[in-house]
């Protein structure tokens, strides 16, 4: 059998399998089968084969197929790889949101890190105690009024005071104060604040320097009609006003290293000065004022302080913590 007949037989058998043979094909198959009976088996085999293929079980697609398709489409939308118009707005929204979030993250992350670094640099170290702004201390109060906020830590800076010198000669007294400050070498730590009527000198210096200054200012007392010290120390929240304060009282207070004792001592001075003013202002027993050099009896120093005289000044001794004193020279009407 040559190729052409084989090809024709093949075509004929398949036509019969498809059940679409025409009359000529049917006649031809009958003729062929007489010469080659095996063709009938071939036809039967092909029909069985076709039925078998038709009957092959249909396998279900993966259950996640539709979900996977949806995810793949969304991924393409987000990546801007989706060419269709369907969902283009959604894709654009997705894309814009992602880009916006990316930009925000790129900006906020460095800013956050910078803020942490800046805060770390600027915050006061916790070992140094609570931070108290200097302007809130008594000595730095520009208005000259006692302030309620706490002063510097009592154990370190117990003395914090404002000395008010009221005089009819404010210019002369101010000049003298400035000269004394200069003579004591405190010009570098003094901050003058001049107004039309008043002059303030703010000094932060070791106690011995303040003591020496007060001692030198003693000569100004007769020129001042009223000398008052507002002082606060330790945990005492309210400032204590000491009227008619004397230089030795100030120096004693300035050298006190206990805030609590400083407060008690200041109260004693305040009450004692008020008492002696009442007692000796018009006493007939001492018209010449012989009881004290200035007409006042010696002050009964509180026994809590444990000292009678101010501690000697030791300029070359170990360094002491600084204290603050503001001297206000105010004009009074004669």
């Amino acid at each position: 059998m040559n190729e052409t007949p084989k090809h024709e037989i093949e075509e004929l058998l398949n036509a019969l399998v498809e059940e679409e043979p025409n009359e000529r094909q049917k006649t031809e198959f009958k003729r062929l089968i007489q010469h080659d009976p095996s063709l009938a088996d071939q036809l039967a085999s092909l029909r069985q084969q076709k039925q078998l293929l038709n009957a092959l079980p249909v396998e279900a697609a993966p259950a996640s197929l539709a979900e996977d398709v949806r995810a793949a489409l969304e991924r393409k939308m987000i990546l801007g790889d989706y060419q269709g118009t369907t969902g283009r707005i959604v894709a654009a929204g997705h894309l814009f949101m992602r880009r916006a979030l990316t930009v925000a993250a790129m900006l906020l992350l460095p800013l956050g890190l910078l803020a942490v670094v800046v805060f770390d640099v600027l915050k006061p170290p916790s070992e140094q105690g609570d931070y108290v702004p200097a302007r809130k201390t008594l000595a730095r109060d520009d208005a000259g009024q006692p302030q309620t906020p706490p002063m510097a830590p009592a154990e370190v800076f117990p003395f914090d005071g404002i000395l008010v010198l009221k005089t009819v000669q404010p210019i002369a007294v101010s000049n003298s104060v400035e000269k004394m400050i200069f003579d004591q070498g405190l010009i570098n730590v003094m901050l003058p604040n001049r107004t039309a009527e008043d002059t303030s000198y703010q000094i932060t210096a070791p106690p011995e320097k303040i003591v020496a200054l007060i001692d030198s200012l003693e000569t100004l007392w007769p020129d001042c009609g009223e000398v008052t010290l507002s002082v606060r120390g330790g945990s005492q929240e309210q400032a204590i006003d000491i009227p008619k304060v004397q230089p030795d009282q100030i120096t004693t207070l300035a050298q006190e290293n206990s805030g609590e004792l400083l407060s008690r001592l200041a109260k004693r001075y305040a009450s004692a000065n008020l008492e002696k003013e009442k007692m000796f202002a018009h006493t007939p027993d001492d018209p010449a004022g012989e009881l004290t050099g200035q007409g006042y009896p010696p002050l009964n120093v509180p026994i809590l302080t444990g000292r009678v005289e101010p501690a000697p000044i030791t300029p070359n001794g170990p360094a002491q913590p600084s204290i603050r004193l503001r001297i206000d020279v105010k004009r009074t009407v004669d």
């Binding site: 084969q49 078998l52 396998e59 697609a61 949806r70 793949a72 489409l73």
Partner: protein
């Protein structure tokens, strides 16, 4: 997108209506088209490429490609034909690449497989044997048949699968494969004969 909700109403729609809804952005209609055709596309691809994982991936790629370009579908052919053209082309391209890379043909040659082949050949050779549908329901034999299909040359395998398994008409096959109807018929004749010969070789 809510692909999987409330398909029941849309499943009754014909392909043209579903495609129109898809073109308007109805994602539910897209889900309906997937559900409607996923098993047929998957089985066709599986019979051609002979690997379940590859078939799943290619089926997914087919639907993604179709749905993302559904705006360009003009209705010159049916959606069904278009869908299968995309599926077959993707699969054939994949099979060509895979064959180039691996160079292996699909041939399971262990002893058990050979026995199953022999059994299948005997069943098919007996005109008075059991019903072919009953044979097909035996899993091992069905796998043997599928494996034998995989041994056919690719061009013949595709035609056989589309005609005898998917039961596509000659006209549709010609459209899917972009061939003349006569070419489809001659390839199918040859494919059937080759498959019968493959079975017979098991007996000899």
């Amino acid at each position: 997108m809510a692909f999987f909700n409330n398909h029941s109403d849309n499943l009754s729609l014909d392909d043209t209506a579903l495609v129109r809804q898809c073109q308007r952005g109805n994602s539910e209609a897209m889900g309906c088209l997937i559900v409607k055709y996923q098993d047929r596309v998957y089985n066709t691809i599986l019979k051609i490429c002979q690997n379940r994982d590859d078939a799943a991936e290619l089926t997914q790629d087919t639907f993604v490609k179709v749905l993302e370009s559904i705006q360009t579908f003009g209705g010159r052919s049916s959606f069904y034909t278009w869908l299968f053209r995309v599926a077959v082309n993707l699969t054939l391209n994949y099979c060509r690449r895979r064959f180039k890379l691996s160079g292996v043909s699909l041939d399971a040659a262990d002893e058990r497989l050979e026995k199953d082949k022999e059994r299948l050949a005997l069943l098919l050779a007996d005109p008075n044997g059991p019903d072919p549908a009953a044979i097909a329901q035996q899993r091992e034999l069905a796998q043997i048949v599928a494996g034998l299909i995989g041994q056919l040359p690719q061009d013949y395998r595709v035609v056989l699968v589309l005609r005898d398994i998917e039961q596509m008409s000659y006209a549709h096959i010609a459209e899917v494969l972009d061939l003349e109807a006569g070419t489809v018929k001659s390839r199918l004749n040859r494919a059937r004969t080759m498959l019968r010969e493959l079975v017979e070789t098991v007996l000899t």
